[in-house]
């Protein structure tokens, strides 16, 4: 398999780029080279990026279906059913977050938490979550359900236009775990329903998918690193397993401080080696 020494070319082209702001000479070659890098690096990972694209679109499609069921329950005033559907539906979104988040305008509409946007603008999943768990009602939330469904449908339509690049995967894998470290571990994501562990697990699964796709390339580069990452994923899953409740997960507030800390440190232990996955872009 052909690997391109993407980094050094990047560096060369970017130093030219940097120097070029003041000079006409060299501008054109730099630009050409940049294009070349893009094309070749994407070629060598085309299979991987295509497969990821398929995976992400699959998750978004499931997300559309699950959101449909969820918003329908809200509109029918079926609080219990809506509560049941809430967390599992979100998992599809959380798994595909590197792609879903590309649309900077839709992400806040679907997934903003209280305080992320102004009260007047606040809608989406977490707004309805507040209605279901805190106000214990669906009354007055029908409009949010309608808007959410529209936004999720729009997301599905837009996802087809996403160009999945190797760097989106490399950065996305660690970013998914960073999401866990900064908002799931703290219990801030689902502050009314305390269903944070669903999002937690989904982020980890999303990161694992990327790891699996890049793994054949990683194996050739650094088999030990690959094994290390695999062990650490297994460790996180075994901790999550302890907090299972039937098909789902316990409410986050049931976890002790020590259990939360153990999860947080396990994510750190996983994310550190996973952050080295960028070595797959180096020439053999």
């Amino acid at each position: 398999m052909k690997f391109l020494k993407i980094s050094s070319i990047l560096l060369i082209s970017s130093s030219l780029l940097f120097g070029c702001s003041n000079s006409d000479k060299g501008a054109a070659p730099a630009k050409d080279q940049a294009k070349e890098t893009t094309a070749s690096s994407q070629d060598s990972f085309k299979e991987v990026t295509d497969e990821y694209r398929e995976y992400a679109i699959g998750e978004i499609e499931e997300f559309v279906k699950a959101t449909d069921a969820f918003t329908t329950a809200v509109k029918h005033g079926d609080i219990e059913k809506a509560k049941q559907l809430y967390a599992p539906a979100r998992m599809h979104y959380e798994r595909a977050e590197p792609i879903a988040e590309v649309f900077g305008d839709l992400d806040p509409k679907i997934d903003a938490r209280a305080g992320d946007v102004s009260e007047a603008e606040w809608g989406g999943y977490h707004r309805i979550e507040k209605g279901l768990w805190e106000d214990n009602t669906t009354k007055g939330y029908e409009q949010y359900a309608d808007q959410l469904m529209k936004d999720v449908n729009l997301l599905r339509a837009k996802v087809d236009t996403v160009e999945v690049t190797p760097d989106l995967l490399i950065t996305g894998a660690v970013d998914l775990l960073n999401e866990v470290s900064t908002s799931k571990v703290t219990g801030e994501e689902d502050r009314y329903s305390h269903t944070d562990l669903y999002d937690f697990a989904a982020n980890v699964e999303g990161a694992e998918k990327i790891y699996q796709l890049l793994n054949p390339a990683l194996q050739k580069k650094d088999a030990e690193l690959s094994k290390e990452i695999q062990t650490r994923f297994a460790n996180v899953y075994s901790l999550l397993e302890k907090h299972k409740n039937g098909d789902g997960y316990k409410v986050y507030t049931d976890l002790s401080k020590e259990e939360v800390k153990a999860l947080s440190q396990a994510i750190d232990a996983l994310a550190e080696p996973l952050s080295q996955i960028g070595i797959v872009t180096e020439a053999s």
């Binding site: 990047l10 970017s14 940097f18 070029c20 006409d24 232990a269 550190e272």
Partner: protein
């Protein structure tokens, strides 16, 4: 040409405003052009910055040697102390950790980053970067192993049980101990001392990062003394009660004295610890509000020294010999029987090497008082003959106990030093 140049200028101005996260978000849509601009620009900047460290060469304490540094090293202005729990299950992982730590620590004490910047910009930098361009600041990094590394919950974790020295056991419970689990114990410890707090923190941060997946933070506490700039004469530092602390300490240059009191000698126990030393850590909360409303005579009677000069009561200079026999007209000792200095001294046969630092952790949320105190660090050859008997006396009747509370405690065997090519811990693991 002209058009190209315009584009390029545009992309590098955009660069400055784009965060890493934004790059990810736009990468899929905007294509790779912006991405190259952004990461290339950042990469160049940081490469230039890291070169600056190479020019600084002073303020270096050698890392390699017979003993670990940071024990008989002249006490630096700041400490960052961390206790860790090992999460690895196998000895090879532990050995790898100590090898990696040794290499990184040696580099950092020379003011160098733990790794050069990779040319692959899809990787995070090896060094966390906040010490770039800073002086080595007399950084020392001292590693120790706790009793629980050998046996935990009755389990011989790494096949090291038979190598545990008799002295390396949890400290006995002393009267008045108010130990909290969150400040107690640890399988391993890192003591990073430097004349700059950022350099000390950088050292521990990078070592913890290297340890990910093998060991985790159990507790951590930064500490400070007055800086050398503030005290160019280098007088004995004062603790947060305003008293000089550390007047009586072994002479760091007197090898004979150090061999007697600080360094573990052949025949003391297992050979792997020869030239090492035992570290006892106590995190002692000081009720400074209570102290501040105590009258001066009471304060001085509590310590057994004058606050201003640091001299023992009845004497005039800080380093005057303690006169424990003199009595006042009323028959009471000049240096009270329950004073800190008298009880610490005992019969004078026990001495420890103290390297204490003050700490202030903001406010105690429960009481609204300062959360402040002393991170007491002391080194010795035989804890059962040094720290333990001293602390027993103090815990029983030290007047200072009214103003303090021992919240944290740990004991570690600080490994002997190593030479270039070897690693800290080699004597234990081989």
């Amino acid at each position: 040409m002209t058009t190209g140049n315009n584009n390029l200028e545009k992309s590098s101005t955009e660069t400055k405003k784009i965060s890493r996260r934004d790059v990810l978000k736009t990468a899929g849509i905007g294509g790779i052009g912006v991405l190259i601009g952004a990461s290339g620009f950042g990469g160049l900047l940081s490469i230039t910055e890291s070169k600056a460290t190479d020019t600084v060469q002073n303020d270096i304490i050698p890392f390699y040697g017979k003993h670990q540094s940071g024990i008989t090293t002249k006490t630096q202005d700041h400490v960052y102390f961390a206790a860790l729990d090992v999460t690895a299950y196998e000895k090879p992982a532990l050995v790898k950790l100590f090898k990696d730590w040794t290499e990184a620590a040696a580099l950092m004490t020379e003011g160098k980053p733990v790794g050069e910047l990779s040319s692959n910009e899809f990787l995070p930098p090896k060094d966390t970067g906040e010490a770039a361009g800073l002086s080595p600041s007399n950084l020392t990094i001292t590693f120790g192993v706790g009793p629980s590394l050998f046996v935990k919950d009755g389990k011989d974790r790494f096949g090291l049980k038979h190598r545990r020295p008799k002295e390396l056991v949890d400290l006995p419970k002393f009267p008045l101990d108010a130990l909290e689990e969150e400040w107690t114990g640890g399988d391993l410890c890192i003591q990073a001392c430097a004349d700059d707090p950022q350099v000390a923190f950088h050292a521990v941060r990078n070592l913890i990062r290297i340890a990910r997946g093998k060991a985790i933070l159990r507790w951590a506490q930064p500490g400070f003394q007055r800086t050398k700039q503030a005290d160019p004469k280098g007088e004995t530092p004062r603790n947060l009660f305003g008293f000089k602390d550390g007047t009586v300490n072994p002479n760091f240059k007197n090898e004979q004295q150090l061999n007697k009191q600080v360094w573990v000698q052949p025949g003391d126990g297992p050979n792997w610890l020869v030239d090492g030393s035992y570290l006892v850590v106590r995190r002692i909360q000081m009720f400074i509000e209570v102290w501040d409303r105590t009258n001066l005579r009471e304060q001085e009677n509590t310590f057994g020294r004058y606050r201003d000069s640091g001299a023992p009561l009845g004497q005039s200079n800080e380093f005057d010999k303690l006169d424990l026999k003199s009595k006042k007209e009323n028959g009471e000792y000049v240096i009270p029987v329950d004073s800190h200095v008298r009880l610490s001294h005992g019969d004078g046969s026990q001495q420890i090497l103290r390297r204490a630092y003050s700490y202030s952790n903001g406010m105690d949320v429960k009481t609204g008082s300062f959360d402040a105190g002393l991170l007491f660090l002391c080194f010795q050859r035989t804890p059962s003959k040094q720290f333990i008997p001293i602390q027993k006396r103090l815990a029983q009747m030290d007047k200072l106990n009214e103003y303090t509370s021992h919240r944290g405690s740990a004991i570690f065997a600080c490994l002997p030093g190593t030479i270039k090519g070897g690693y800290i811990g080699e004597t234990l693991f081989n």
